[in-house]
Each structure stands twice: as C-alpha cells, then as structure tokens.
C-alpha cells in the first residue's frame, strides 16, 4: 500500500469541502477518482499533495502516518501533482519550469542552463511532445502548459503522481499521449491517481475507481467489475438532480434578437432570438465561442459586425452599463473573479447593480428591504445580509450573483455555466430559480458544458462550433445529437440537414 487516507476532513470557513475522504492507492495501479463538481475530489488531491492541510482524519504514506505542511514536503516523499489550472511561472521557459525549484547547478553553484535545456529536450523528444525546451510558457496553449506540468512531474521521478483532469483541455492526439505516459508510469511501478469527468477515458486507463459525493467517499471498486450505470448512481446519489425536468411554458414576446453578430476570430455571424418564458440552452466544446457570445451581447467585447434588438428595439450596447440599462444580465462563468465581491456583505452584492439612493445618498432601509426580499425569494442560506458573500457555499454565492439581477429587474438573463462548482442539491435550486424567472417573463440563455443539465432545463438547445451556430435541437434531444453538432465539421452537418 502506497498511500492510505481515512476519514479525511477539510473545511473552508463555514463550508465543509470534505466530510470523510477515504482512498487507498497501490504502487503500479491507476486509481481513478470520480465525483460531481464540488464532491471534494480536488480538495482531497490537494491535501495529498500538501497544498491544503487536513482538519481531521488519517493519512499514511507507505504505512507511516504523514503530514505535509507544504508541497515541497510532499514532493520530497515522491508525490507530485499535475494541476487542472496551470501552476507554472509564465515568463520562464519550458526547461526552466520543468526544473523550477530544483535547478541543476554547475560547480560554481550557478544555474546550469545548458544542462537543463539538454535534459528537457531529451525528455520532450522521448515522449514526442509538441514542445520546445526554450519556449516561453506564456506563449503555450492550455494543453501545452499541461504537458509541461507532466514533464516536470516525470522528470523528478515521483512514486505517486496525481493528474487532476489532465485531458480537459487537450486534443485527441495529446490525450492519447497522456494515456501512454500514464501506462508507462504504472508499468514502472508508479502509483497514479487520475481525476476525470470523461466517461470514455475511464476504461482505457483505470484499474480501480473511488467515488466521492458531497465530500464523502461513497464507493471503491475494481474498474473491471463496476458497470457504468452503477458508477453514475454512486456519483449522483440523490436522484433529485437526475430527475429534475422543467415543464416548458409557451414562449411569449421576443426580448432579445441578435443578428449576424461577429467578433473575429471567436464569433462569426451568430443570429439568435430569445423569448420571454423560454430557457434556451447553448452547448458547444470549450472554445466554441459561447462565452464570447455572452460577452459580446453584454457589451464587454465589441463586435465588428451585427445588430442587437432588445424588446423589439434596435440597441447599441457598448458597455456592460448599456447592457444593464437595457435589462440584460450576465451571470459569468467565473463567479469568484467577475461575479462576486467576496469581501463585501451579501446586501452590498445584492444591490450592486441598483444601489438604492436619493441624490446620491444611500437609502439603507430600502437596501435592507431589497436584500431581505432577495434572500427569501432565492432561498439564500445565510446569517443575514451583513454576512460576507465569500463565506457562503458555492450554490448560495451563485444565488447572490443571480439576485443582483433579479433585484435590478433584468429581463434577459445570460447564464454562463450556472452550475459550475456547486453541489447537486444547489444545482436543482439554481434550476428552479431559472424556471421561476422564465415563468415570470424573463428570457434565459443557459450556456452549459454539462449536457445532462441542458437536457433537463432547456426548452431548445443551440449548438455552437468554432464561433458559429452549428444548429438548433429541441429540448428533449440526446447527448449524442448535441455532440454530433458540436464536433462535426460544418460540411457534414450541412449534408445531414
């Protein structure tokens, strides 16, 4: 037994990220860790890699109880992690990043760039990565950065390597290369922990699987005996999320029309209409231009071409301020960075888009009133409007972001990945809020990479591919139909239709 965790706990402020994490990894196995967003996988991995310290539970390394105060201590034991989001120094070269913190020095104690470059080149050639050792890292694509992280981990001869969704940003060919590396490492006796969301990947690399749900380990079994249906059942657990299905209402008047919107290179001739009462889903691969479309409609980016009509009137939207004035709301995909002022009270976040004031002087009573209504209406679980927004759980933070627009009386809602990083129960609540908004006459665009969620919530689904609308599907379509539209080259779809 290489690594064993029992009942590991971790809290962040009031939020419990991990209630009881169990995991045991042998040398020479690929151990898959699975679970929904927010199930606690990443937290568990970061505890193993020394990035977080556990609040409770046991951790043993080769039978000995261990405690890693920082990643260096974990690395000294031979544990390395390839991160989901790149943790590289962007202004250094590929070689310098591979050897970061363990530079090769010459006899004078100076950094030996030549030797580092040479070793890095050999490593890259050995795995046939599309990299050059002297490239600056900030020029690389997300996939390239991922490969650098992998090189770094391999170079330092680790006995346990953690991959946190390594292929989410990689191409097909690069993914295969990663699999090959994973298998080579396993055959050499390295333990590999592998986190992924992609079902198709599992069977090709995994030996055993451990499933987390709501911060707890719920199941662990050999990959060969576990059926996919059972795996999903363990992951989803409560059936509520899977069973939620929105009852569509007949769409009303047109609230937003976008005509031939272009913002090269990410958007080309996008035309769509959003109606009151309707939830329009939008699917597409990462980089298909969905976020860019939301940004362009919201006035954050400036389209080179195209018109926008709001409630039947042609409108120029040059800034978010214009968009907000016309009743358009954006719930951004990156809640922490662009949606929420974490350090400020809930009340201030709720009223941020419409601070009640007379002659510039705040009306505190009105603000309390608006906040109280928002908390009741969206069922935000908190200690009151004075609590800092950053202390809330992901789902409740999202509700605060939404309430900002509800209080403002927005009528067109652009939801960009509305359920990212929130747990299953809260997802359903977010769906319910979206449904309620639609019923009260709002038009909703729901961008999501979670196809099952789109199928549950959307009345119809638009699919984007390479900056263009690839097609429209009814709400009760299949994941396969969406993926076909999202991935096929345009000529083939045209033939089909």
């Amino acid at each position: 037994m290489l690594l064993e965790l029992k009942g590991v706990q971790k809290r962040f402020g009031g939020v419990t990220a991990l209630r009881s994490g169990d995991l045991s990894v042998d040398a020479g196995e690929v151990h898959l860790v699975m679970g929904e967003n927010g199930a606690g996988k990443s937290t568990l991995m970061k505890i193993i890699a020394g990035l977080h310290q556990r609040d409770g539970g046991e951790m043993r390394w080769r039978g000995q109880p261990v405690n890693f105060a920082n990643p260096v201590e974990a690395a000294q034991m031979g544990i390395a992690m390839v991160h989901q989001e790149s943790l590289l120094a962007p202004h250094l070269t590929v070689a310098e990043n591979i050897f970061l913190g363990r530079e090769i020095s010459n006899r004078l104690g100076l950094v030996d760039r030549g030797a580092m470059l040479e070793k890095a080149r050999k490593l890259i050639a050995e795995h046939r990565f599309p990299l050059q050792a002297d490239w600056k890292v900030d020029r690389l694509s997300p996939a390239g950065k991922q490969l650098v992280e992998i090189c770094r981990a391999i170079q330092h001869g680790t006995s346990l390597l953690i991959f946190d969704e390594p292929t989410s940003s990689l191409s097909e060919a690069e993914t295969h290369e990663v699999f090959k590396i994973v298998r080579t490492l396993r055959d050499r006796g390295t333990g590999v922990i592998y986190i992924t969301h992609r079902m198709d990947e599992l069977r090709s690399v995994g030996d055993r699987v451990t499933i987390l749900r709501d911060g707890e380990t719920v199941h662990s079994e050999a990959m060969s005996t576990l059926s996919t249906a059972n795996m999903i059942r363990y992951m989803v657990g409560r059936e509520v999320a899977a069973l939620y299905q929105r009852e569509p209402v007949p769409p009303g008047e047109e609230l937003l029309r976008v005509h031939n919107l272009s913002a090269p290179p990410s958007l080309h001739d996008v035309t769509l209409t959003l109606r009151a009462g309707e939830i329009t889903g939008m699917a597409g691969l990462v980089g298909a231009g969905r976020t860019e479309l939301c940004r362009a409609i919201f006035g954050l980016d400036h389209p080179s071409n195209g018109q926008i009509w709001v409630a039947g009137k042609q409108t120029a939207i040059r800034s978010p301020r214009d968009a907000v004035r016309h009743g358009i709301a954006l719930i951004p995909e990156d809640r922490q960075k662009t949606g929420l002022a974490r350090e400020l009270p809930i009340a201030w976040n709720v009223t941020m888009a419409q601070t009640p004031a007379r002659y510039g002087v705040l009306r505190h009573a009105a603000e309390r009133d608006i906040t109280k209504k928002a908390i009741d209406r969206l069922r935000i679980r908190c200690d009151g409007g004075g609590q800092k927004a950053g202390r809330l759980s992901g789902g409740n933070q999202q509700k605060v972001v939404i309430s900002k627009w509800v209080s403002r009386g927005a009528r067109v809602f652009l939801f960009d990945e509305p359920t990212r990083g929130i747990d299953i129960g809260a997802k359903v609540e977010v769906f319910e809020v979206m449904d309620e908004l639609a019923r009260q006459g709002a038009a909703i665009l729901m961008v999501s990479s979670e196809l099952p969620e789109l199928l549950q919530v959307a009345d119809r689904i638009l699919v984007m591919r390479q900056g263009r609308l690839a097609g429209e599907l009814p709400g009760r379509t299949t994941q396969e139909a969406i993926m076909r539209l999202a991935t096929l080259p345009s000529s083939e779809t045209e033939l089909e239709s």
Partner: protein, 308 residues
C-alpha cells in the same frame, strides 16, 4: 474576542495615551496635546482622502507633491494681493485639479495608480519648483496663521477642520452611492464593471476628492510655516498611507474606515510626540514608527486569516 480584535487600533491608542501620561508629566498638558493635534492634522486630513483611494484598491504617492503645490499656489495668490479666503480656495482647488488629473490618467490611460502617481509625484514637485523658482513665498498676510495656529474657545482650529472633514468623508464613504461604489471597485473591480457601475467616473472622482483634501492640508501646512514651500510635504505620502493601513485599511482594497484612519494617524502622531518628550534620538523614531506599521498590519492579517 472578535470585537476586541477589531478595536485593537483603538485600544493601542488608549494604551499609548496612558503609557505616555505615566512616563512623562509633560504629556498631558494643554500645550503638548494641542501641538500633537496641530502636527497630526496635516497628514490626517491627507489620510482621509487616502482612505478613499486605498479602499478603491489604489494608492496616491503624489500627495506630498500636491500638498506643496496647493500651499504654493494659495500663498502666491495671497502674495499677489488676493484675500486670504481666495488664497485658501486656490490652494484647495489646485489640489483638486491635480487629483483629477491623477484620476483621469489612471482611468483613461489604464495605468496602475502606483505608476501614475509615482510619475506625478515627480512632475508636480518639479512644477512647484519651476513655478516658484525654488524659492519659498513669504509675503503672506499675518492673519493667515489663524488657519494652522488659531483656536476657537481653546480648541485648535485645525482640530475642528479635521473633525468636519472626517465627518464629511465618513458620510461619503458609508452613506452615499460613491462610497458604496468605492468599496465595490476595491473589492472586485470586474464584478463592479459587470454590475454596470461607472467605474472610471467614480475612480476619477475618488482621486479628485483626495486632491481637494490634500490641497487643504497644503494650506494648513503653509499657515503653520507661514511660507509657501515648494519642498513642503516630502515623505507625507508614506505617513498618510501608514495611517490608513494602521487603521485597518488594506492595500488590496475593499477595506478601511475613516475612524480607523484617524486612530492610525493619532497613533503615528503620539509615537513621534512620545519619542520627542522622552528624549529618544530622532533617528530611532523612524525605526520605531516603521516597526509599528509592520506590526499593526501583521496583527491585522493574523486576525483576518483566523476569521476565514
């Protein structure tokens, strides 16, 4: 426990007062206290503007230079025969104009406040020297000294000015839309933009207000020295920043208060005064004050980390 930690700057101030009154009989005298008030009023008024700027997650390094420029323009107006009131207003408006220019440069050129105000710190100081030919302005009406040295019913006039300014800025910060937006911009500027807040307009306004207060501080300084000095106010920007930070303001933005800043300012003033009274070598004073800044901020960080 939490309240105790939040009140820490205030408690420190009280302890400082008690310690100093026990240590030396010269401390708790009307003369000494009013001299402390006069000494601290100048950079306390500057620090009020700096509070707004730091909460918006900015910084203004040019306040020392703007203070000199404000004082200079005001006294030059008086030297040219303008009434005192016109002179004072000239000084305040001069400060406001340079603050406005800082704000415009930051928001329109999209350069970080640190860089812009580092530049204007030099530019404004240089302009002050050019305008005055490097020479102080002395031809000032005698009664102008009332601004910095006068009393109303035994209370220093500058203390009244400070209280009025502090009340105004406090009201601005806690009870107006501008104040609310200052917090929003400082806490998460992207979220503020996404919420449709006119971020550029309000950021510019914040620097302009900081400039007005600095202009007033410049006139008080000129009145205390009875000269318009192109070299006045050197290093004051650090004093003002320190007052804000000791009072709980965060250079990351989104945090700070007027009351905190005033306490921070008085702690700095009392430390300097205490060192003087106790005969501590002025070279050591700088060491002590520097150490207090670091200590105050690290205690504050510790409190926040534990709170999370």
């Amino acid at each position: 426990m939490k309240t105790v930690q939040r009140l820490l700057p205030f408690i420190t101030l009280i302890i400082l007062v008690i310690a100093l009154s026990l240590a030396t009989p010269h401390f708790l005298t009307a003369t000494n206290l009013s001299s402390v008030v006069r000494q601290t009023a100048v950079f306390n008024i500057m620090a009020l503007g700096m509070t707004l700027i730091i909460i918006s997650s900015g910084v203004d390094l040019s306040v020392g230079s703007i203070l000199a420029m404000g004082g200079l323009m005001g006294t030059m107006a008086m030297a040219k025969g303008q009434p005192i009131l016109v002179g004072v207003i000239t000084g305040i408006v001069t400060g406001g104009v340079f603050g406005l220019m800082n704000g415009l440069a930051i928001t329109r050129l999209n350069i970080s406040p640190f860089i812009v105000t580092l530049g204007t710190m030099g530019i404004v100081r240089g302009l002050a020297l050019v305008v005055s030919n490097g020479l102080p302005v002395h031809e000032i009406p005698k009664s102008f000294s009332y601004l910095g040295e006068g009393t109303v019913a035994g209370v220093p006039f500058v203390l009244l000015l400070l209280v009025v300014c502090a009340a105004l800025v406090h009201f601005l910060l806690e009870h107006t839309r501008l104040g609310r937006y200052t917090f929003a911009i400082g806490s998460n500027v992207d979220a503020a933009i996404y919420a449709g807040i006119p971020v550029k307009f309000h950021t510019t306004a914040i620097y302009a207000i900081g400039g007005l207060l600095t202009g007033l501080a410049g006139m008080i300084e000129a009145s205390r020295l009875m000269t318009g000095q192109p070299t006045a106010g050197q290093g004051y920007e650090l004093q003002a920043i320190a007052a804000v930070v000791i009072g709980g303001g965060s250079l990351r933005g989104g945090e700070g208060s007027v009351v905190g800043t005033l306490i921070g300012g008085f702690i700095m003033g009392l430390l300097a005064n205490g060192c003087d009274l106790l005969g501590i070598n002025p070279y050591w004073q700088q060491v002590i004050i520097g150490a207090v800044i670091i200590l105050a901020v690290s205690v504050d960080e510790l409190r926040k980390r534990r709170a999370v």
